[in-house]
């Protein structure tokens, strides 16, 4: 049984990189339209205030809710990032497993 660290490390890094690239795309696909939507809501709130369609109390409530929704969106992006890291680690572990088994010629691990 003989394999070098480099022989295991290379497929691990490739697997992790591919996994992260895919998951980053998913996070970006989510984040961009959500940010746009938040910006539009903020503009709508500003218009309501400027045209006096809401009183001061209602304006504060709207801004607070907007802030909460923004935080919620950011928490989702954060969660997607954690999932991305998890996927990358597991992809790398899977690659290590495959490399070791290929090197020894049977299912050692």
């Amino acid at each position: 049984m003989s394999f070098t660290v480099a022989e295991i490390l290379k497929p691990m890094m490739a697997a992790a990189k591919a996994s992260l690239a895919q998951d980053w795309g998913k996070a970006e696909d989510y984040a961009k339209p959500e940010m746009k939507r938040l910006a539009e809501s903020l503009a709508a709130i500003a218009k309501l205030v400027a045209t006096k369609k809401v009183n001061q109390r209602q304006a504060k409530a709207l801004l607070r809710i907007h802030g909460n929704t923004t935080q919620s969106v950011l928490l989702t992006i954060d969660g997607l990032g954690v999932i991305a890291v998890e996927d990358a680690i597991n992809a790398a572990l899977g690659a290590a497993r495959d490399t070791v088994n290929t090197a020894v010629g049977f299912k050692l691990v």
Binding site: V5, I8, K26, Y30, E34, R37, L38, S41, A44, I45, L48, K53, V54, R57, Q58, K60, A61, L62, R64, I65, H66, N68, T69, Q71, S72, V73, L75, T76, D78, G79, L80, V82, I83, V85, E86, D87, I89, N90, L93, G94, A96, R97, V100, L108, V109
Partner: protein, 169 residues
């Protein structure tokens, strides 16, 4: 009296010792990795998907949307705070039920925080609905503002559901 000194180690021997120590560490790391891989170990950094939470979140999104749409389309007393004040504690109870379930999952901090934010937003909505002091029951949500409220709540629920669904793996 001269103090005896140890013979200087030959540079080649020092390098060999260093390389040997490194090789040892790398071999150890490799064995650890192989053990992890062998155990069929998968690393978990975030909680698992919960179908009940997913379903509950979708239901609550629909309920809030329906409530705000009723406030938008209703008339006179039917849209006043006094007639609708019961909605707020009811909805808060429903959200707390999902929050408690989310708290039961380890490594679920993001989702738990999202439910807490939702409870705060509900309080703010009630505050906006309530009339001025002495006239609380007569308060209404401005019709022009309701689409904004609705969109913000829908977006927040969307964020919650999106994260929950992403945990399916």
């Amino acid at each position: 009296m001269t103090i005896p000194t140890l013979p200087a180690r030959r540079p080649a021997l020092r390098a060999a010792t260093r390389t040997g120590a490194h090789r040892h560490l790398l071999a150890l790391a490799l064995v650890a990795l192989a053990v992890l891989a062998a155990g069929g170990c998968t690393v978990r950094l975030i909680s698992d998907y919960d179908e009940t939470i997913d379903r509950s979140a979708s239901e609550l999104q629909k309920e809030m949307d329906a409530f705000l749409t009723d406030m938008e389309n209703g008339q006179d007393e039917s849209v006043m705070y006094g007639v609708n004040r019961g909605f707020y504690p009811y909805y808060a109870t429903e959200v707390r039920a999902v929050l408690v379930r989310a708290q039961a999952h380890p490594k679920n901090e993001q989702s738990v925080a999202q439910y807490e934010l939702m409870l705060d937003s509900l309080k703010e909505l009630e505050e906006a609905h309530r009339g001025d002091e002495g006239l609380e029951d007569e308060g209404t949500l401005p019709v022009e503002a309701i689409p904004v409220f609705r969109d913000l709540f829908n977006q927040a629920w969307g964020a919650i559901i999106h994260l929950e669904v992403a945990k399916k793996r």
